[in-house]
Structure formats: C-alpha cells, structure tokens
C-alpha cells in the first residue's frame, strides 16, 4: 500500500531538477507503517533501571567498545517521561517493586520492556523472602535476556529483538498491541494464579515450609478480588 492509495492524487510526479536529474521524481512512496516503525526502532531511548551487576554490562554496552549508539540508543533517558524501552538490569527486591511499577506507568506509549539477566527474569538464585520472583509479575516484559549477567552482545541482541518486534507492528493494530488497562495501573501484571504458582517449593534444596515454630502466619494467598480490586 503506497501513499497514492491513501492520499488521492499523490504519487510520483514528473518534475524537472530532481535529485536524480532532470525528469526524475522528487519524492518516494512508502508505507506509513514502515516509516513510523523505521523512526521508532532507530531511536529507541532506553530507561536504565540498573540495580545490580547486570547494570555494569549495560554500561559497557553503552560505552565505546560496544557502542549502543550505532542502533540509535546513545541517549540513556534517566527520566521515564522521555523513554521508550525500560531495561531492568538486576534483581528487584519487593521494596523496590512499587518504584519499578511507577517508572513503567510514567513512561509514555508506545513503550517496551527488557528483563535483563536471570534475577530480573525469574529471581535467579534469590529465591528468598525479599526478592521479586521475576519482574513480569510487576510489569509486562517484551524480551527476556538470559545470563548472569548477560554480555553486552546479549543486551544488544535483546534490543535488536525489540527492534524486530517494532518492525512487525502496524498502526492499524497499534491499540491492540499497546492496549493498557487503566484499572491495572500500579497493580501486579501477573494474574493471581501465576502469582500463587510462585509460592510452591520448586528446586530449592532446603524445601522449607512457610510455617515455623507455631508463629501465627498468613499463608493463604490473596484472593482474586484482592489482586484486581
């Protein structure tokens, strides 16, 4: 679908003195999607949310040896209001969870999220009382990068996957892709069942119970109503 299909009368026009010489067209046609996506994917501004050693690799990615600027990401945006892609690099404790959620909510659409490293993606080795078991319980994640920490090549590959994702988007389906339920702002991203599923003992060598020494405990999971209210 070219511009001429969208705008009646638009199309290659014979003029004189064009850039390719006399008689050549002075403009080219393309798809609106292609132009917008091309602009977006080549000017992704990352919002660095670095909390641990992954952030060191993220900084290395931006430095001259790996040079994220080659992909249009030289401008690390330390304000979420001017950012396009949230890079969560490192473990996130529960105390930081509302901050991460607020940073995500403050970013304008369209926005994407990268979960960098094992801890951000799943909690990693920190299967403990204080640690979020994967930031996808807090915010929606587009790309997970494995590694502990991932090398800069890994982060760059993840960002290029974001670029590929943007390349596939279409304005006609934009709101479908980027829809966000206002009721879910500042709420957990994961569903109740998903969150409850994180409770069970999996792969932990201690197999420790949550009950101990007869202390009054609250083991029952929050109900669906609580999570979504």
């Amino acid at each position: 679908m070219g511009l001429s299909d969208v705008l009646p009368g638009a199309g290659p026009t014979k003029t004189t003195g064009g850039i390719f010489g006399s008689g050549s067209p002075t403009f080219l046609t393309s798809k609106v999607d292609a132009i917008i996506n091309w602009g977006r994917l080549n000017s992704l501004w990352p919002m660095p949310f670095g909390t641990a050693c992954c952030a060191i690799e993220m900084m290395a990615s931006a430095a001259s040896n790996y040079d994220l600027a080659r992909f249009g990401m030289e401008r690390m945006s330390f304000s979420p209001r001017q950012a396009d892609v949230l890079i969560c690099a490192g473990r996130v404790p529960y105390k930081l969870a509302p901050v991460l959620r607020r940073v995500w909510d403050q970013m304008p659409q369209p926005k994407w999220c990268i979960s960098m490293g094992a801890c951000a993606s799943s909690g990693g080795v920190f299967d403990v009382y204080s640690m979020v078991q994967g930031i996808d319980t807090i915010v929606p994640v587009d790309v997970y990068i494995p590694g502990c920490p991932p090398r800069p090549e890994g982060l760059i590959y993840g960002l290029m996957m974001i670029q590929e994702k943007i390349r596939q988007e279409s304005l006609t389906r934009h709101f479908e892709h980027r829809a966000e339920d206002p009721a879910l702002v500042a709420r957990p991203k994961a569903g109740p069942e998903e969150l409850v599923g994180l409770t069970g003992p999996f792969g932990n060598s201690t197999q420790q119970e949550r009950l101990s020494d007869g202390v009054a405990v609250k083991v029952e999971s929050a109900s669906t109503d609580d999570l979504l209210s």
Binding site: Y94, A186, T199, V217
Partner: protein, 235 residues
C-alpha cells in the same frame, strides 16, 4: 543428601557447641583473653558482669557481658583514658537458633591505643531489650535500627527506632531470625500485593524543595509521613 551434609545442617540448627555457649565459664585452654589489657580492666572493674572471655579468630579479644551492665561497660570503655574506644565499627547480632539467646555484638576500635575489642551481650528470647548506645556513638544509630529490623531487638533510649532495610509496614517478622522461613511467611501473591501497595511517596524527601532550614525539612517530612499513614488506614 549425604549423612555428612545432614549432620552439618543439624549442627547449624542446634546452635553453638557447648564450649561456645554463653555463660559457660570453662573456656578451652589457651583461649583465656585476660592478657588483653582492656579485657583485664573490664574484669577488674565489672567482674560480676563478665560472663566469659576468649581469643577468637587469631588476635580478636571477645568479652561476654550481661545486658544490665552492658551500657555502663561500653560507656566506660569509651570514656576511660586507658581505653578510649572512640570508634564503634559495628553493631550487629547473631541468632544461634534452638531457643538460645540472641547475642548483640559490639565491635569497637580505639584510635588512640590501636586496640580492638568485641563485646557480646546475650539476650534471652523472652527479653530482647537492651539499652541503646546512640548516646555514646552516633554511628550506632542506623546499626541498631538494622538489628531491630532484622532480629527484633529493642534498643531502649534509641531516638528513632524503626525499620531501616525492610519496608516500614513489613508484617512478616524479623528475617534474620533462625525461625524465619527462607521465603518469608506470606505467599508470593500476598508479598507482591503488599509490596505494590506501599506508598512510594514516602521514599522521596518532598520537603527539601521549598523549605530552608534542615530542621523545618525534618519536621515537614515527619508531618508528611503521619498524614500519609492516616490516609492509608482510610483506604
């Protein structure tokens, strides 16, 4: 899991060896720390309050004292000309599990005499209370808050005793206690819900933009926190 591993884990659960238990006067041979000048002075001045003493980790003198005299001994160690322990390097605590007392540990250094000393004070689980040393060393402020946060030891006379690492409204207890489950007491869903329900605004010092004097800023923040907590109850 091999038998060796299992017995090692059991030992952790049972706490220190009998020779390490506080109150045991029979220290192993060669571990008597009374040749340390400060230890000898403490024994001379506060003999009734000294539970035992020993050398640990090479040349680290350790003295166990009773909670009631702990503050007096520390104050004397700081102010006496022969001691001058003017630097409180660390205040921490150890829970040995199995219902044994939680020991509060004071690690001190004398910049005048270049002496190190560690004072330990066992607190029974039903009386986790000890006098704060904030009046002696300002450095003890946050360290005591940390011990309060993670072990539940109350420091009487502390100017601002509240949680420092865990969220203010953390409801699962004191995480470094031996009886605290590794993953906490609540389900992940409940933990996530409580985490996201934290009031993020109190992470920021909002008063420092318009107010001049630090005292005013501090007062403004106190007022802010009180106002927010009452709001939270209303929701």
């Amino acid at each position: 899991m091999t038998d060796d591993t299992k017995s090692a884990l059991d030992a952790v659960d049972e706490g220190p060896l009998p020779s390490e238990a506080p109150g045991d006067a029979t220290a192993a041979p060669g571990e008597d720390a009374s040749d340390h000048a400060s230890v000898a002075a403490i024994i001379a001045g506060f003999g009734d309050s000294v539970l035992r003493h020993r050398w640990a980790a090479g040349r680290q003198a350790v003295v166990w004292v009773t909670p009631d005299k702990c503050h007096d001994i520390l104050a004397w160690l700081k102010d006496d000309d022969g001691q001058r322990y003017d630097m409180m390097s660390d205040v921490t605590a150890v829970d040995y599990g199995g219902g044994r007392p939680i020991e509060v540990v004071y690690q001190m250094f004398s910049t005048a005499h270049k002496h190190e000393l560690r004072v330990r004070c066992p607190l029974p689980l039903d009386a986790l209370e000890i006098e704060s040393v904030c009046d002696l060393w300002k450095a003890a402020d946050w360290l005591e808050r940390e011990v309060f946060d993670l072990f539940g030891v109350t420091f009487t006379g502390h100017p601002d005793l509240r949680r420092i690492l865990m969220p203010d409204d953390y409801a699962e207890g004191h995480p470094l206690r031996k009886d605290f489950p590794l993953r906490g007491r609540f389900s992940r869903a409940e933990q996530t819900l409580q985490a996201l329900n934290q009031n993020v605004d109190r992470f920021y010092l909002t008063g420092d933009m318009d107010h001049g004097a630090p005292q005013e800023v501090a007062e403004a923040e106190v007022g802010l926190i009180e106002a927010e907590s009452s709001d939270g109850e209303g929701e």
